[in-house]
């Protein structure tokens, strides 16, 4: 069997050199170190001055099971995967079989031919097939099969023209912790990969070429780390959580950093304990948070209501995954929005924020704490697996933009008997004391209570107390993070979306604009209180409206439609297979329902 079995017809026919926009997929079995190599590739792209986004598609198991790690790099910040994969590094036949249809015509596959043979059926002839005995090289030339990932990195680097110096520097840095010997082995593995390409495919260019750009001072960070960092910056000093994919990273981030700032992170016995701990710490005056995902969020429902009625500021991060029930724990979805807004018995004011980028994850996470304390209510930070476990490049984060406004927190002694913890106020927010303060003793009860906290079932008090609490939502409305408009603000095609879908929607917009369909996209960053005015205005004067979201029932669509009514020109663009949108999946329905206008119509 020759090393290269077929040369993609399309690739052969054209001389397509796609510069600086590439998506690499690293596919193999879970737990085989592909994570480290994927991160390495991402790091090299970044240092080459490109914008990077990564997406993990891992099974809910520890080792084995098909895994893929997608690294996208380009000159645009693209928060999402492309329509097609450009290059697939496949360590087994399963990886090829699963993903070969996702490759762009003209793309390429690097297949580890050491142990398995590619069955004939899978081979598309419009892509280039590089058959490299990667495992064998690792074993025989380096003497360690474990470095096969690094060998493949060498192959890839040469095929697409990654900067060899940067590759070497990054490999040295990443493996540095493990000692010189390991660094050395891996450097040799790179070399071996490169050499193999030079010897076998020198005349078979991949069709892809990357051109370095100046690497300005930027970060590459995962959404969950940005959330943790935002919390830390905003003065969060207590976290309690219970491990759950894809939220565990936040607990791990906080467990690492909190102690350095005098705080503490607790792994609770379950989510019921975690949320009640957060409430306890917040009651005591510490900025506190938890992070969880669907099943844990469901368990926290009762206590969230308690925080609402006790008017205790807490921040709850929801890293959404595919439901219902255990669902697909490592896959993405946007099916918990309804629960955050409408879940829970009885009615409380709550605020739901949803960042659309890693950068915004940081700023919204930080903002959540101010909002929680200003309005003394639970604030949710809603994100999804496709964003929170993805890494992306971003500018340095500006801690000067983070404020610590503790709202109506009372720090000077008050007069017992005069002070009323739940005083009726115009904005619904009452001055808040915390244990230890002279004169502020009171009962904080989840039962309905009067201004001073005493439990009462008086109907008049009840109605007023309900109004007081709910009024906070109106007070907050003008101060929550506003939506962002992307695209052509005057376009007559409108799109609604939020969170991880920001990336694919913006990319779809660029493409639609190029096709003569300018669009405007309202990225909602606060989902509750719902920005009714903005939404109503945004729909006005449109010829078509699209609501893009990852769920079956159209949860965001319901919110929009409640405001603007059922309109014939409104369309749902839904996806619920656990995978994030590729831009084409947004482009197509829009193109279909709102085709470019002929000149006559303009």
């Amino acid at each position: 069997m020759s090393a290269v079995e077929s040369r993609g017809a399309a690739a052969a026919g054209s001389d397509c050199v796609i510069v600086n926009d590439i998506e690499i997929m690293f596919g193999g079995q879970a737990g085989d170190g592909s994570l480290t190599t994927g991160d390495l590739i991402a790091g090299v792209f970044k240092r080459m001055g490109l914008e990077v986004y990564t997406y993990k598609d891992f099974p809910s198991r520890i080792r084995g099971g098909h895994t893929n790690y997608v690294i996208r790099a380009g000159e645009h910040a693209n928060y999402g995967t492309a329509d097609f994969v450009d290059g697939l590094i496949a360590f087994d036949v399963e990886a090829v079989e699963t993903h070969v249809h996702e490759l762009r015509p003209g793309g390429f596959v690097v297949f580890d031919s050491s142990s398995e043979t590619l069955p004939d059926g899978v081979k598309r002839d419009d892509i280039t097939w590089y058959l490299v005995p990667i495992g064998k090289i690792a074993k025989e030339e380096i003497g360690l099969e474990l470095v096969r990932n690094t060998v493949s990195l060498g192959v890839l680097a040469r095929l697409i023209g990654m900067d060899p110096a940067i590759v070497r520097a990054d490999v040295a840095k990443v493996y540095g912790r493990k000692g010189e010997r390991v660094v050395d082995l891996n450097l040799r593995a790179i070399e071996a990969g490169e050499t193999y390409v030079d010897q076998h495919f020198a005349e078979w260019p991949s069709g892809y070429g990357l051109q370095g750009r100046p690497d300005v001072d930027r970060l590459i960070m995962m959404g969950n780390d940005a959330i943790g960092y935002g919390a830390l910056a905003a003065g969060c000093r207590f976290m309690a959580g219970y491990p759950i994919t894809p939220a565990t990273d936040v607990l791990e981030f906080m467990a690492k950093f909190l102690p350095r700032y005098g705080g503490v992170a607790i792994q609770a016995e379950d989510e019921l304990a975690a949320i009640n701990m957060v409430i306890g710490a917040a009651f005591t005056g510490v900025r506190s948070m938890t992070a969880t995902s669907g099943p844990g969020q469901a368990l926290m429902t009762e206590a969230i209501g308690l925080a609402g009625v006790l008017e205790i500021p807490i921040v709850v991060v929801e890293c959404a995954r595919t439901g219902p029930s255990t669902g697909m724990p490592t896959k993405t979805e946007q099916s918990n929005l309804n629960h955050l807004i409408f879940g829970g018995h009885g009615e409380i004011p709550k605020i739901v924020l949803a960042p659309g980028t890693v950068e915004d994850s940081f700023y919204l996470s930080a903002a959540a704490f101010d909002l929680a304390e200003r309005y003394q209510c639970p604030v949710f930070v809603l994100t999804e697996q496709a964003l929170c476990q993805s890494k992306a490049t971003l500018p340095r984060l500006d801690l000067g933009r983070v404020s610590v406004d503790r709202g109506k927190l009372v720090t000077e002694p008050v007069v017992f008997g005069e002070y009323k913890r739940f005083a009726f106020t115009d904005d619904g927010v009452s001055p808040r004391v915390t244990p230890g303060l002279e004169g502020g003793m009171h009962l904080a009860a989840g039962s309905e209570h009067g201004e001073a906290g005493v439990i009462t079932e008086n109907p008049k008090n009840r109605a007023r107390m309900m109004e007081k609490r709910m009024r906070k939502l109106e007070s907050a409305l003008a101060h929550v993070p506003p939506p962002l408009v992307h695209g052509d603000a005057k376009a007559d095609v409108a799109i609604f979306g939020y969170g991880a879908n920001r990336g694919p929607i913006v990319e779809a917009q660029r493409r639609l604009a190029a096709e003569g369909v300018p669009t405007r996209f309202l990225e909602l960053r606060t989902l509750w209180p719902f920005p009714e005015e903005e939404v109503r205005a945004f729909v006005a004067g449109t010829r078509a409206v699209f609501v893009v979201e990852n769920n079956y029932t159209g949860q965001l669509d319901r919110l929009v439609r409640y405001v603007v009514g059922p309109l014939e020109r409104m369309h749902r663009v839904l996806k619920y297979d656990g995978r994030p949108f590729r831009p084409i999946e947004i482009v197509e329905p829009i193109r279909r329902a709102a085709p470019a206008r002929g000149l006559a119509e303009v």
Partner: protein, 287 residues
């Protein structure tokens, strides 16, 4: 400023919602007396209760009182302690709150060993929901939800806590306030998680475990009893026959505050400044 405190200093103006004769009155008095004798100030006491007749106690103890949801007093109280280690933290609740819906948290509070007292007001029934069986009700106890008799064996909360690594286990009787005050004081002072289970009769619903029944079925541990012998304590707790009262087990091991490496400054008093140099520098690792 040291003033002499009296139990009255821990009283609220709120009228009690308990039935006349309820055992919970004795628990409340003992708590007030213990806090006064220890010279605590209401402002420094965080008092967290569960839901039930027992849980209403937080409305009657002048302090920073917290009346949360059913079964979750211990996670709340644990976090209060971590957030401000200078506070005197006490949790209280019923046998249902603590041993049914809250059983998991109970076990985990025991093994975490935060410095706080936990008072279980045990009336062997669900008072507030009108007399159903509770985890401590005797097998065969007849109630609205168990008209054929409670099919479950009663749980021995202190024995379970002992097995889970409890460091202070005591039992009192609400009709013996003097003894109870002593236990409460020891519990509040104990450097770890201190449980005081109080036999606190429900005069309205529990017609079996009455004051008279208890008087006949309890005994006080005497000086000869060695409360540091774990196996002996297990024996005392699980032996058939009369119910032991007193400090049943006592041990010293590091508290949660120690093992989470809390600094001397309570977390709540930390300065929060987003511009702290090291805080900004965290980014370098991502650059």
């Amino acid at each position: 400023m040291t003033t002499t405190m009296t139990p009255k200093d821990f009283a609220t103006a709120t009228p009690s919602w308990w039935c006349p004769g309820c055992g919970d009155y004795g628990v409340l008095s003992a708590l007030k007396a213990a806090l006064a004798e220890l010279g605590k100030q209401p402002k420094d006491v965080a008092f967290v209760s569960g839901i039930g007749c027992s849980g209403k106690i937080s409305g009657y103890l002048h302090s920073y009182a917290f009346h949360g949801v059913h079964g979750r007093a211990l996670p709340v109280a644990t976090a209060v302690k971590l957030a401000n280690r200078d506070l005197t933290v006490i949790a209280a609740g019923g046998d249902g709150d603590g041993y049914a819906i809250g059983a998991g948290h109970f076990l985990h509070a025991v093994r975490r060993n935060p410095k706080m007292a936990y008072v279980v007001m045990d009336n062997q029934t669900y008072g507030l929901t009108k007399g159903q069986s509770s985890p401590t009700s005797q097998t065969g106890y007849i109630t609205g939800t168990s008209p054929q008799g409670n099919p479950d064996a009663p749980i021995n909360g202190l024995a379970v806590a002992l097995a889970a690594g409890g460091t202070f286990l005591a039992r009192g009787f609400s009709a013996n306030p003097k003894h109870l005050v002593g236990l409460m004081k020891e519990a509040v002072e104990h450097d770890g998680f201190a449980i005081v289970e109080v036999m606190s009769p429900c005069v309205t619903y529990n017609k079996i475990n009455t004051y008279a029944w208890f008087k006949q079925n309890v005994y006080y541990l005497d000086d000869g009893y060695d409360a540091t012998d774990r196996v002996r304590a297990f024996e005392a707790l699980t032996a058939e026959g009369k119910i032991p009262l007193g400090v049943i087990y006592r041990e010293q091991r590091p508290t949660l505050e120690t093992l989470t490496h809390l600094g001397a400054t309570p977390i709540v008093d930390l300065r929060l400044d987003p511009q702290l140099r090291e805080l900004v520098a965290i980014q370098d690792a991502y650059a």
